[in-house]
């Protein structure tokens, strides 16, 4: 009894007018009935095209089959054979370009809502399961994981499940990486990230916070002084890019990293109940068109900004952000200034006063395959803003590569790692996630962490 509806079962959402005044989650998730109804749209294809597009190869038709039968805990067990952070992935994965892009139902109508189902199953488990996670007996082999983001957490969990003694070193005071400092509460509740991390701790992973590998200790010292057989580096891409335009050091200019970290990790949205402030004007320009730009814009709106602009130099078709994020941003009244490129920031008493932009048009395709934006001569105009948030991408932090020169890097700072094993040019040192790929997605980082865990196990298991 397949559900032949061409559309996904709708997921309840907070009303846009209401949600721009709070930081609570926008999407409310499926009820068990809705989940079963949606799961019945799955054709249970034998060749599983959806799985081939999942970076961690979640057995998708298998878990959906359990959902159809209402066996949600069974579904959870199936998902977690491949994915250690299902509640996170169900929310922030770009399913439209991964699993759902290959769904046969998508040829005519909408694909099966795999992401929503994954989210439902994970949430159901967190709410209802009393089952205690138990650590596997240890094999006594020590492995260090550097960085508590999606790559590091995945690598740590996979190796802990195999019995390795894992210590995860986190530079900040809280593990989670971009899941806690970057992605806002309204898209990914922090309580949920905390719960997922607690689960990983229960597997026996020891988390050592406030340790900046490359400063507090080097990769080499982890091996020689602390006795770690292998080291996995998942330190991410945390260094903000700036545009190098006039006025960028004025007061009122933030990197998206600073802005989001203040609001998310330090909970500045609750200032002065929390001690970390964030200062925001009435009119905010966010520069960039990716998910981080959407997160920044929607956060600014919730903090009370009257006008929030997305300033992006290409057109809507090229926006790198997920369609859903762009859709949500528009619903919330974010104003899109497309085909506009910032040229300088004007000041008044050393504060941002206006943003000068130039209009662009699309020319021939560039090396990325997208049409290159070309400035239209003498088309400069001024945008009346008092805050500018720069969200044009992040680079890997060089702290580790500078103190461990044997680890070879790309010219832009990314660590070079083997495509299959994730091993770097330094023996028994592995790397994965944004520090290798440059800023990408949570799930790709998790896939890299998984790959490294497998390779580390292959190498160490016969020790």
């Amino acid at each position: 009894m397949i559900n032949n509806s061409l559309e996904k079962v709708k997921m309840q959402e907070q009303d846009p007018q209401k949600r721009i005044k709070n930081f609570e989650e926008v999407s409310l998730g499926y009820t068990p009935e809705e989940a079963i109804e949606e799961a019945r749209r799955c054709l249970q294809c034998k060749n599983r095209p959806c799985v081939s597009k999942c970076p961690v190869a979640v057995p998708i038709p298998e878990f959906i089959k359990e959902v159809v039968e209402g066996k949600f805990e069974e579904a959870y067990k199936i998902i977690t054979t491949a994915n250690n952070l299902p509640a996170v992935c169900g929310r922030v994965c770009p399913q439209e370009s991964q699993c759902e892009s290959k769904c046969v139902r998508g040829y005519k109508g909408e694909p099966v809502a795999i992401g929503r189902l994954e989210r439902f199953v994970a949430d159901y488990h967190m709410k209802n399961s009393k089952e205690e996670i138990k650590a596997v007996p240890t094999n006594g082999i020590k492995v260090a994981v550097v960085g508590g983001g999606p790559a590091g957490l995945t690598c740590a969990a996979d190796l802990a499940k195999l019995g390795y003694e894992i210590t995860l070193f986190e530079a900040l005071h809280k593990p989670g990486g971009v899941l806690v400092y970057g992605i806002p509460e309204f898209r990914l509740p922090k309580k949920l990230v905390k719960d997922e991390i607690e689960n990983i701790k229960k597997l026996g992973v020891k988390i050592e916070k406030n340790v900046i590998v490359g400063k507090s200790i080097t990769v080499e010292e982890l091996k020689t002084k602390k006795g770690f057989e292998s080291v996995f580096i998942g330190s991410g891409a945390g260094l903000p890019r700036f545009m190098n335009i006039e006025g960028e050091n004025l007061n009122g200019v933030y990197s998206s990293n600073e802005f989001l970290t203040r609001v998310n990790l330090m909970e500045a949205y609750d200032f002065p109940n929390t001690p970390t402030p964030v200062r925001l004007g009435k009119n905010v320009a966010v520069i960039g068109g990716g998910n981080v730009a959407m997160d920044s814009a929607r956060t600014a709106k919730r903090l009370g900004a009257e006008h929030v602009y997305i300033v992006y130099r290409r057109s809507e078709d090229e926006l790198p952000a997920r369609t859903e994020e762009v859709h949500h941003a528009k619903e919330e009244g974010i104003e899109f200034k497309l085909l506009n490129n910032p040229t300088r920031i004007l000041e008044k008493d050393f504060w941002v006063d206006k943003l000068e932009c130039i209009r662009m048009e699309l020319g021939e395709p560039d090396s990325s395959g997208r049409r290159r934006p070309v400035p239209l001569e003498n088309s400069e105009f001024l945008l009346d803003v008092d805050t500018v948030i720069i969200a044009i991408g992040q680079r890997p932090n060089p702290l580790i590569s500078h103190t461990t020169p044997e680890i070879k890097t790309e010219s832009w700072g990314g660590i070079i790692a083997d495509e299959v094993t994730a091993e770097t040019s330094k023996e028994n040192v592995y790397a994965g996630g944004d520090v290798v790929s440059g800023a990408a997605t949570v799930i790709l980082a998790m896939g890299a962490g998984k790959k490294a865990a497998k390779a580390i196990h292959e190498k160490l298991k016969n020790k």
Binding site: H173, K209, I212, I217, N249, S255, P272, T274, R279, F350
Partner: protein, 283 residues
């Protein structure tokens, strides 16, 4: 959690603590800093390392109780714990051997200056030091400097210790008297460092200054501590905190320090009634 091994009250607003922090003490060098949070809900603040003991695995910090977090820290006693203590961060100070050096400190700047002067002395340099403060009460680290400095001078606003006037007045006097220095290190409030650089630039004495503006992470993640050095944007947390004083755009730096001034006031007001009465701001 990080244990407060000892606490010393220096004067009504300045205190020092020795904190047990093995990961920091093992590798830290003069010029580097740490980031701390007092409790679970706290904000992250940077403090420059004032001294360290590798054997005891401890780090000395000196703080002036001027803001919300430093006041909260001041309520902690020896034997108690603070939530987070991360480091060492920043680059070590570029210290050169066997030269005649003048160290100039303003207020609590004397604390971070101390390990640099101590190391220079150990390297065989001749070191003179000028410490300036509001009045004699606010002169800190006198005993410590007394042990290592070849000459120690003071300047106070009210003349209660040393010369009545600024550290730059003492510095100019020394230079006029024919003292020659190969290098200067100035640590203190930004306007003071700017004034020192004004003097040393004329006298052609290479000068290092320590910048310590607002930081969240201390690892280059946020870029909140951007400064213009010789026309180029740098991050004080990873490229510094010590820079060539001649290259620093002081005007921009002073302007950037205004950024969150009104918010600082707001949180002071918000928590005023609770701090000191309850012992914690969130209960």
């Amino acid at each position: 959690m990080y244990k407060i091994l000892r606490k010393k009250i220096i004067n009504e607003s300045v205190e020092e603590m020795d904190i047990l922090a093995p990961f920091v003490s093992e590798k830290c060098e003069p010029g580097q800093f740490i980031i701390l949070r007092v409790d679970e809900k706290g904000e992250r603040i940077p403090l420059t390392i004032a001294d360290y003991d590798r054997e005891e695995q401890s780090i000395k910090i000196v703080y002036q109780k001027v803001g919300h977090t430093t006041k909260l820290l001041g309520q902690k006693k020896a034997g108690e714990f603070i939530e987070d203590f991360a480091g060492p961060l920043g680059k070590e100070a570029p210290l050169n051997k066997a030269k005649r050096v003048i160290g100039v400190a303003g207020g609590v700047g004397a604390a971070p200056l101390y390990p640099q002067i101590k190391k220079l002395k150990a390297m065989g340099s001749q070191v003179d030091v000028i410490i300036g403060a509001r009045n004699s009460e606010f002169i800190i680290f006198e005993e410590e400097f007394r042990k290592i400095a070849d000459n120690l001078y003071f300047a106070t606003d009210d003349g209660s210790k040393g010369k009545k006037g600024f550290v730059t007045d003492v510095l100019m006097e020394l230079l006029e008297k024919g003292n020659e220095y190969d290098e200067a290190i100035a640590i203190g409030p930004v306007p003071m460092m700017r004034a020192v650089v004004g003097v040393t630039k004329k006298a052609e004495i290479a000068t290092s200054v320590s910048l310590n503006p607002i930081m969240i992470d201390g690892t280059g993640m946020c870029g909140g501590c951007r400064v213009t050095i010789a026309g180029e944007t740098k991050f004080a947390c990873v490229d510094g905190p010590d820079f060539n004083g001649f290259d620093v755009d002081f005007e921009e730096l002073i302007n950037r320090q205004q950024h969150l001034k009104s918010e600082e006031k707001e949180i002071e007001e918000h928590h005023k009634c609770k701090i000191g009465l309850s012992g914690g701001y969130d209960d």
